[in-house]
Amino acid sequence: MDAIILQLLNGLDKGSAYALIALGLTLIFGTLGVVNFAHGAIFMIGAFCAVTLSKLFNLSHKSSEPSGTDFLGNPKYEDILYVKDWFGESFGAWMIDWSVPLAVIFAIPIMVGLGFLMERGLIKHFYKRPHADQILVTFGLAIVLQEIIKYFYGANPIPTTAPEAFRGSFDFGVLLGFDQNAIIYPYWRLVYFGFSALIIGAVFAFLQFTTFGMVVRAGMADRETVGLLGININRRFTIMFGIAAAVAGLAGVMYAPINSPNYHMGMDFLVLSFVVVVVGGMGSLPGAVLAGFLLGILESFASMNEVKNVLPGIDQIIIYLVAIIILLTRPRGLMGRRGVMEE
């Protein structure tokens, strides 16, 4: 029982990451009709915003007096952090400790700006082109973006830590009356889950309750009609692209402490997020979220020993197996609309 609760929790947590990425992908697809293979790269860049901020905070100058010798026997000078110089010892240390949450603020303008730039500079010219062209050009862009990151940060993962306060794990088991250590879950992952829920909620609320959102939703349903109403749908779509980029970017920022970011983490998530989106149904936001959680939970359960003993290797294929079963039983995924991306 405790094992099942644990995996359910884990599935929700994994699912929240999937849902968040799929949500951004669906926003772009649903509003602009563009298949964006660079979405994973945006997620990756988000994670590198966290890395960059933490590197900025760790910028240092050398002390004037040597404090020992380095590995070659040359004198070594201690690094003195600028943030500590400028903001004082304790506040500087706090800033470094909290660099990931702080990076959220830092990342929003960067990601929105990147989104605008991508949409205006590239994607805009591809609205009327076939999906195959969109895939190719965004895939090319994804490669370029990740190679740029690799050029500056290397191929090795870069450890990025959560604030001290969120390290360690929370013992749910005790809360629910199980033994100690039966159900433990890391604080930061719980934070991530909450953060995802917040972002997903915010996106839905934005689309549901603002006039801007209403127009965009109308545009998702029928672009031509909305265009005929004299509303400048293009500008709104640019903004939507920015928002989608920000959603993916923030997902990346917060993901950084969970797994050390590396330059190809976007590609790792790309296929998965497409599967999530398609299982949810192309163009359906609730579908994307639902599918994200569903696949996250199923993946968690498939990695349980009890399951793996019966079906060896099931955790290798569960996502794809579920995708096949769902697509064969529900032609347009869980909540897809007729006629979208079927031609």
């Binding site: 298949v35 590239l122 010219h125 082109r129 999906h131 195959a132 062209d133 895939i135 190719l136 050009v137 895939f139 090319g140 862009l141 994804a142 490669i143 370029v144 190679e147 740029i148 050029y151 296929v271 497409f274 599967v275 398609v278 299982v279 192309m282 060896p312 290797g313 290798q316 294929i317 996502i319 794809y320 197996l321 995708a323 096949i324 697509l327 064969l328 032609p331 347009r332 995924g333 991306m341 079927e342 031609e343």
Partner: protein
Amino acid sequence: MLGLTPKDTTLLIIVAILTLFAPFILNPFPTDSAMAQFNAGYPDLMQRFVIFGIFAIGFNILFGLTGYLSFGHAAFLGVGSYSAVWMMKLLTMNVIPAIVLSVIVAGLFSVVIGYISLRRSGIYFSILTLAFAQMSYNLAYSVLTPVTNGETGLQIALDDPRILDGANAPQYPNLFGTEMNDAVTMTLGPWAFTFSVGYYVCAIIMMLAFYLSIRIFRSPFGMMLRAVKSNQQRMNYTGLNTRPYTLAAFVISGMYAGLAGGLMASMDPLAGAERMQWTASGEVVLMTILGGAGTLIGPVVGAGFIKYFENIFSKINDSILHQWFSFMPEGLEDLLVFLVHPFIGKGWHLTLGLLFMLVVIFLPGGLVEGGQRLSKMFRRKAKTSDEKTDGKTSPAE
């Protein structure tokens, strides 16, 4: 000739000449010159050009004609490779049974996957094929290791049974005794040209495959496939059942992939699981689109383009750069090396990514369109009067 229109015959002949003389064409630089780095006329790469050409030609029969975008075609290539290596382990090192089996097995595999995946269309179809291929890859890498030898890939070993081979039979892939690795090198002054048996076996098979693809493109069947892409609704209301047409196209292209896989294993008896990964499936999509989907020659051009980058650009390193620019003054040399450095060697992905973007942005029809534009430009200059709208008979060339 051969049941082709004069135009197609010309194309076939041009391709045949290019393939047969590839060892010359691909080695334009003297072996000792600095530019020799760009020579691609060595057996392994030439074999790869034609093998991936076959793969892309087959993929194009599905994608270019019917518009169904499969993201899992590498699975058939992988399955073909595995069957070929198994054939060479169990039966004989002669490549014929290996290649035949790989085509058959890939065909059967694609019947199953195609039958299921073609119940859906558009992106749903793409994801179904992707899911099947990824499942095959993941399983081949782990649980199926007894069959696939997992991470390392399936290799031949000295103690394999090979029941048809006698004691003195060749130990490497061969065609009735002639080994695939045999080669003749011709030296002409500073130039060296290598003619390998394996390459010519691949090349002849590719020409056959290319010829078949022209026939398919021009046949009523090919027209039906284009009709599927154009308007499925009208197909149905014209009394035509689209499902068998698409399935047939899927299986044909799966068999092409199997053939490519079998050939790959025959040239180098190893079958690795990575051949089935989604990136490998993506690669053939890129090849086809880059060259020009739906055109006859485009996929082959795209395949050559990508393989050239992968094999030639990745091998350029800084010391080679320094050699190239060594005639320049020191500072300028360093600057140039610094500027070029991110794009070569380990940066070849970056160059490839940029090229994808440039081609798609400026040449929506792929490299073939680029070629057509160029030749049109020249023709227009040559004789402006001879402009006719005659070339419209068929968009597929």
